[in-house]
């Protein structure tokens, strides 16, 4: 009996276990500190605000989580798509340009934005699956290209949008809950169901777990990885409506913050999973917590540059912890 204890205790409290739980511990400590320093952080109105502000990050995280599930969570060679925020920004730019500058009807603006998103999805899939580029580099390149095209489309200028559809997403409340939060919740449920509850999702996880094993069991791994990039572009497309609504228009440069929060939230989300793997629901929870952290820091008057520094450090800890867990598992 004592022998069993002496084996399990060090496993639970070993340096490795502590290191992989580090992001979660740091986050909980930070949130407790913020909850004490900024008492209004737990007000229903502030929680509503946190949920509302987190929506664009939540939706891009759905895409990144899907890609990581399919490609494996090795930060360098596994699945990653850094271009999702750029896809959101290019779609938002097209929507804003079409609705405001050209007076196009909503359906044609949406159709054009969808074409851009499909192009991004196909481009990433070709670069990674057909050409065999590392997802990190491929999607970084496509992200830079998309931001460049956005600047051409918008002439690098802000475009205001006051279309009723965008205003609805921005301002409407259903039973006291912002409509954006409800719509995003539907997307979250759909992604969770697709990735974690369907046969397709199981195959996706199998590919991410071990591509060789998946291939041996007859799963078309390349096709599934390509589909994950396509789904990620779809998430970028969906996020564009929330980006547009949040800013009442498209603003150049909004992809930078979104990228930072997306990576932080998705890999932080892995810390919530018992096996320390990236999951859709974990990424969503991560996105809400990252926003709560931003709102909390601002509420207690922390300098915005320190907030950036803290977020950067957290990304480092989260990614290092993910890499460490991956190495320990292998």
């Amino acid at each position: 009996m004592s022998g069993t204890n002496s084996v399990s205790r060090p496993a639970l409290f070993s340096a490795g276990a502590l290191f992989s739980a580090a992001p979660l511990i740091i986050f909980i400590v930070l949130l407790i500190y913020l909850g004490i320093s900024a008492p209004n952080l737990t007000d229903p109105a502030t929680i509503n605000l946190i949920l509302k502000q987190s929506v664009p990050t939540v939706v891009v995280c759905l895409g990144l989580a899907t890609v990581v599930v399919a490609g494996g969570d090795d930060v360098v060679s596994g699945g990653i798509d850094l271009s999702i925020p750029a896809t959101a920004i290019i779609c938002a730019g097209i929507l804003a340009d079409q609705l405001t500058n050209h007076g196009s009807p909503l359906w044609s603006a949406i159709a054009l934005a969808a074409v851009a998103a499909v192009t991004m999805g196909v481009l990433n899939a070709v670069l990674v699956v057909a050409i065999g580029m590392t997802p990190l580099l491929a999607t970084l390149a496509s992200s830079v290209a998309a931001v460049g095209v956005t600047k051409v489309i918008t002439s690098s200028r802000r475009i205001n949008v006051d279309h009723p559809f965008v205003i609805y997403i921005r301002d409407a409340n259903v039973a006291g809950v912002p409509s954006a939060v409800l719509i995003a919740a539907v997307f979250v449920l759909l992604f969770c169901f697709a990735v974690h509850r369907t046969r397709w999702g199981m195959q996706l996880q199998a590919v991410g777990g071990s591509r060789d094993a998946a291939e041996v069991s007859g799963i078309k791994t390349s096709s599934l990885v390509a589909q994950s990039f396509f789904i990620a572009a779809l998430a970028g497309f969906l996020a564009s409506f929330f980006v547009l609504a949040r800013g009442s228009g498209s603003t150049p440069g909004s992809e930078e913050n979104l990228l930072l929060e997306m990576v932080l939230a998705t890999f932080l989300g892995a810390a919530f999973s018992p096996r320390r793997i990236v999951t859709v629901w974990g990424a969503v929870l991560g996105a809400v917590l990252v926003t709560a952290l931003s709102v909390g820091f601002k509420s207690i008057g922390v300098n915005v540059f320190w907030t950036g520094c803290i977020k950067g450090t957290l990304i480092l800890i989260v990614v290092a912890s993910a890499a460490y867990s991956g190495r320990a598992q292998s």
Binding site: L49, K151, S156, T251, N257, S299
Partner: protein
């Protein structure tokens, strides 16, 4: 010569006297005003640039001086983050908000604050939802820089303009629009199309690269001036590019006149020939005082204009640098 120097000296002491009197009367006025017991949100789009930082600190210091408790939020030069920060001020239940700069994304936030009974005092951002906007005399700035630039190139030539924000920010619309209005009377001046678009977040470096590209496109003798339509941080990069390319014959004009750009203007043979200097700290202070006036029951005009100082050439750059309290060049 000595008489000349005495005249300049006496002019300076008079100017200093008037300045001191204005400051003192400001302080006296401030003494009657109070923000005691009030929580005042102060939101700024960013603090990387001198202007933004000075206006922000001016507002914060004046809120404290008047007995109020400032709640500062900084957008880190991201207009979206700046807009979202107003939601945080709303949930913090502040008594008033001083909002410095920002684009159209802040409008629905102002509307929400107004709906919650929180008065908004804007700086350099005229809004239908604000009580009052404190700003420089942008109309004077736009026309003056138009005249100075036209004079600097002898009333004719090709001019490139960095003008990304004319349609997005009203202050830029006024400044760039009136600069163009003045140039209508100089048919010999041609504005190169398409206009250049600066990336405000990374202004000097971005402007340096774009100017080097422009200089390749327009060889010596085919470009006479580069104007920055709304501010002057990009002009730092423009001057760097002109010096790198040995093209300091191209004149540079811009608006804002902080210490960094006035120093460049004051250098011998600087291509940066004209500017209009603002008083950002005074603007921030005035916005805070306007909030106090509002709480004291005074009715405010929609806009409060703060004086600017036109700067034409290196000597005026040195004089304005000293006058605005940045030191001696």
């Amino acid at each position: 010569m000595r008489k000349h120097r005495t005249l300049i000296k006496s002019a300076f002491s008079t100017a200093l006297g008037v300045g001191a009197a204005v400051l003192l009367s400001g302080a006296a006025q401030a003494a009657d005003l109070s923000l005691k017991g009030k929580k005042i949100g102060v939101a700024v789009v960013g603090t990387q640039h001198f202007w933004d930082r000075e206006a922000f600190n001016g507002a914060l210091d004046m809120v404290k001086e008047l007995g109020g408790e400032p709640v500062p939020v900084d957008g880190g030069r991201d207009n979206q983050v700046h807009a979202d920060n107003h939601d945080i001020l709303l949930s913090n239940k502040v008594d008033a908000v001083i909002s410095i700069l920002g684009d159209g994304a802040v409008e629905p936030k102002f509307e929400a604050l107004k709906g919650a009974g929180i008065p908004v005092f804007t700086v350099d951002h005229l809004s239908p939802h604000g009580v009052n906007n404190t700003t420089s005399d942008n109309y004077y700035m736009g026309t003056t820089i138009g005249r100075y630039m036209a004079d600097a190139i002898g009333g004719k030539g090709k001019v490139a303009v960095f003008n990304a924000f004319e349609g997005a920010l009203r202050i830029c619309g006024i400044r760039a629009g009136l600069w163009k209005y003045v140039l209508q009377d100089y048919p010999g001046i041609e504005i190169i199309q398409p206009e250049l678009a600066e990336e405000f977040a990374n202004a000097p470096e971005d402007a340096r690269k774009k100017t080097l590209d422009l200089l390749n496109q327009y060889p010596e003798g085919t470009l006479d001036a580069i104007h920055v339509g709304c501010w002057d941080q990009p002009a730092i990069g423009v001057v760097q590019a002109l010096e790198e390319a040995g093209r300091t014959d191209v004149k540079v004009t811009a608006l804002d006149g902080g210490p960094d750009t006035l120093e460049i203007m004051a250098e011998d043979g600087s291509p940066f020939v004209a500017n209009v200097a603002q008083q950002p700290r005074l603007i921030g202070q005035t916005a805070a005082m306007n909030a106090a006036r509002h709480f004291a029951g005074e009715s405010l005009l929609p806009q409060t204009f703060v004086d600017v100082r036109p700067v034409n050439g290196p000597e005026e750059a040195k004089a304005v640098y000293e006058e605005l309290g940045y030191g001696t060049l």
